[in-house]
């Protein structure tokens, strides 16, 4: 996926004009936000906070011993009969999958939802190699037939109205016209069923990798995940190296927190623990299971002050809570991940120079940290990234100069007084003429006026009166 993050401001402005999308995103994020709130406060605010803190501690512990845990996970998975492969970057990960497909004479692939495969652009390459790849998560299926990209981590088509989904299904799938979402779901389900049974290979992501048992943890809601991972002959898991956790106990904790944060559920409808290929006495399951542990920039982040961002469990709560995301939707962020987590991850993954506006795409209101189930300090990271941007000279020149002038006026009482006077006089002279940044302000709101006298002046006058008494 072409990185378009440097166009955030333009893309955001276009998105804001799109009233249908605006309504859909606002409705979706609001529901997500409220459902999360209800789930986390059901047993009281304190209980919810404790859950978050325990989850954060579990993920941070795992992060600390990440190299050891990865080795442990590899050993256990191998014992379980899983073939473990490592991929340093996207190209290597794609290569592994292609090779596995060739080895097992695979023609048709079904996929369950995975943001990582978006990140490494897996579908394009597989389809380019003549393989038939079908997304089976309903939202991802719509994304695929529409030739789009998911705009939200857990709700890929949050930006679409029911009507536009219906029209797309009528056009691309020949669905009979309907107004009922139930009928739409049933239609998609009927289309997808035979495809699972026909598929040679299933590809899934992994929400967690349990090191002590070598288990892949998968949380889904539609049941498509189960079909993808058990019906076809071969199952390939693509999972980021940061997904490993210490123990089954931590996994149990995190599967309570992730659904609460993402959708407000106490548990997802399906919570799978995948331990390996079909054993001789198993009635079904794949003949072969591969786990590709993908780095793709993660180790590089591990070595920086942003390491904590690797504890993200991809729940999407920060997107639902973010007023910027609510206004722009995910597409405007110009890459795979939108919202606050995207504003932090994108520059770290694709390079600061390719995502210059993203760290500034926040009012630093802090809502993202407040809802994050693992308490990632996203606002702090956005601030640090802004700092890195400035240091590398990627900040805006105009604002840099403006900031310097401003700082100059604030550094001494005399220059401050001068600036206060100049601002007042300047405003009087300019009247209703609003150049540059003031014009930007005036587009949506009335411009405030400077007071005739500053507080400094009022106070000095007061002191004089008092001293005369």
């Amino acid at each position: 996926m072409k990185v378009e993050s440097n166009n955030f401001i333009e893309l955001a402005s276009i998105a804001i004009q799109n009233t249908e999308q605006q309504a859909a995103v606002r409705r979706g994020t609001r529901n997500g936000y409220l459902n999360r709130l209800a789930a986390f406060t059901q047993f009281g605010y304190e209980h919810g906070q404790h859950l978050r803190m325990q989850a954060a501690a579990a993920k941070r512990r795992a992060l600390k011993s990440l190299p050891d845990l990865l080795e442990e996970a590899e050993a256990r998975m191998t014992e379980n009969g899983i073939t473990v492969l490592w991929a340093e970057d996207a190209a290597e990960a794609r290569h592994h999958v292609q090779e596995i497909a060739a080895r097992h004479h695979v023609k048709r692939i079904v996929k369950s939802k995975s943001m990582l495969t978006e990140e490494i652009e897996l579908n394009d390459v597989l389809q380019g190699a003549g393989l038939d790849v079908v997304e089976t998560d309903l939202g991802e299926y719509i994304v695929q037939i529409g030739g789009e990209h998911p705009s939200h981590i857990v709700a890929p088509i949050i930006h679409k109205s029911k009507e536009s989904i219906r029209d797309l299904m009528v056009e691309k799938l020949g669905m009979p016209f309907t107004d009922s979402s139930g009928e739409m779901v049933a239609f998609a389900r009927q289309r997808l069923r035979p495809i699972y049974l026909d598929a040679d290979m299933g590809i899934s992501g992994g929400n967690f990798v349990v090191a002590e048992t070598g288990t892949i943890g998968l949380v889904t809601n539609e049941g498509n995940g189960r079909l993808c991972t058990s019906a076809p002959r071969v199952h390939v898991v693509l999972v980021g190296i940061e997904k490993v956790v210490e123990s089954v106990e931590d996994y149990a904790l995190l599967t309570q927190v992730l659904p609460r944060a993402g959708t407000g559920q106490h548990m997802t409808v399906y919570t799978s623990m995948i331990n390996g290929p079909r054993r001789p006495d198993d009635p079904d399951g794949p003949e072969a299971v591969y786990v590709v542990l993908v780095d793709n920039g993660r180790s590089a982040i591990y070595a920086t002050k942003y390491a904590e961002v690797l504890t993200c469990v991809r729940c999407g709560a920060c997107q639902n809570a973010c007023p910027v995301y609510r206004s722009t939707g995910g597409g405007a962020y110009g890459w795979v991940y939108g919202g606050p987590i995207g504003a932090v991850l994108t520059p770290l993954y694709v390079g600061l120079e390719n995502a210059k506006p993203l760290p500034y795409a926040s009012s630093l209101c802090g809502a993202c940290k407040q809802v994050c189930p693992v308490d990632i300090d996203l606002p702090r990271m956005l601030l640090d990234l802004r700092c890195d941007m400035e240091v590398r000279g990627y900040g805006s020149r105009v604002y840099g100069v403006g900031l310097w002038v401003w700082s100059f006026t604030q550094r001494w009482p005399w220059s401050y007084r001068l600036a206060a006077w100049a601002a007042r006089v300047g405003q009087r002279i300019m009247g209703r003429w609003h150049p540059g940044p003031i014009g930007a302000w005036a587009k949506y709101r009335d411009v405030p006026t400077f007071a005739p006298k500053t507080f400094h002046q009022l106070w000095a006058e007061r002191e004089e009166v008092m001293s005369r008494k």
Partner: protein
């Protein structure tokens, strides 16, 4: 909850930090703070050398310029017993960011730590610091008062309850919650100028929440949000306005007898 282990500010002289925006645009709000504190018998001084806390540069990612401005703050407030400011955002800057800005600096570091430890946001100072919620104020006509919980104060200083208690203490004022009172108004300093369309869209949501509510007036603790919100309310031709908590309190005290 008040932060634990903060030294009580009772009986100490208050050095007022009005903030640059109140200084230049809303000096009356500064005077309201002085009026209220003096009624409570607090001695207030105003260090004339004060300018800004440096937050615009800090949030812009320019820590060098932020530190330069912050040093002027520390010079101006050197020797202060207690610092009170009518802004949750600026109080957050001093409390949370100054110590990190000067971490490892043996000269400015300790000064920043001290400033952080004695700085209070206005409503927090009254309620948590002095233990006052009822100032004895009264409005001429009954009004429904909504709130906008400004982000930094709400999330980093845990403010919100204090302003509600103080409004509850005013006769004829009734707290009437505005939906989404804890959602950002879209100001965010440079953000509003850098990304005007996004900021404007966030503002429109805030304006819609307010105009759709029952509030006759909306109180906030930050002059910057107030500027943003009032700019939007005026544009939408609503009669509702946002006022600073200090101004509503001061208005309620006009003509009321000072406590003995």
């Amino acid at each position: 909850m008040a932060e634990p282990n903060r030294e009580s500010p009772k009986g100490k002289t208050v050095s007022l930090f009005v903030t640059c925006i109140v200084d230049m645009m809303y000096p009356q709000t500064g005077m309201s703070v002085v009026t209220i504190l003096e009624r409570l018998g607090v001695k207030v001084i105003f260090p004339m050398a004060q300018t800004c806390c440096g937050q615009p540069a800090f949030n812009g990612g320019n820590r060098r310029e932020a530190a330069r401005v912050a040093k002027q703050f520390l010079r101006a407030f050197d020797g202060a017993e207690v610092i009170v400011t009518p802004s949750g955002s600026c109080a957050t800057m001093v409390r949370h960011e100054f110590p990190t800005l000067f971490a490892g600096d043996s000269f400015w570091g300790p000064r920043a730590e001290r400033a952080a430890s004695i700085t209070w946001e206005f409503s927090e100072y009254l309620v948590d610091g002095l233990g006052v919620t009822d100032l004895g104020g009264r409005l001429d006509t009954p009004r429904k008062v909504g709130l906008h919980d400004a982000c930094h104060g709400l999330r980093l200083l845990k403010l919100g309850r204090q302003a509600r208690a103080l409004i509850g203490g005013i006769e004829n004022a009734e707290v009437s919650e505005v939906p989404d009172c804890d959602v950002c108004c879209g100001f965010g300093g440079l953000f509003a100028v850098k990304m005007p369309d996004v900021s404007g869209s966030m503002l429109q949501d805030k304006v819609n929440s307010i105009t759709g509510s029952e509030a006759d007036v909306v109180v906030t603790g930050d002059a910057s949000c107030l500027t943003q919100i009032n700019g939007g309310l005026a544009r939408s031709e609503s009669a509702v306005r946002c006022v600073h908590l200090a101004d509503l309190l001061a208005e309620s005290l006009e003509g009321q007898e000072a406590p003995k």
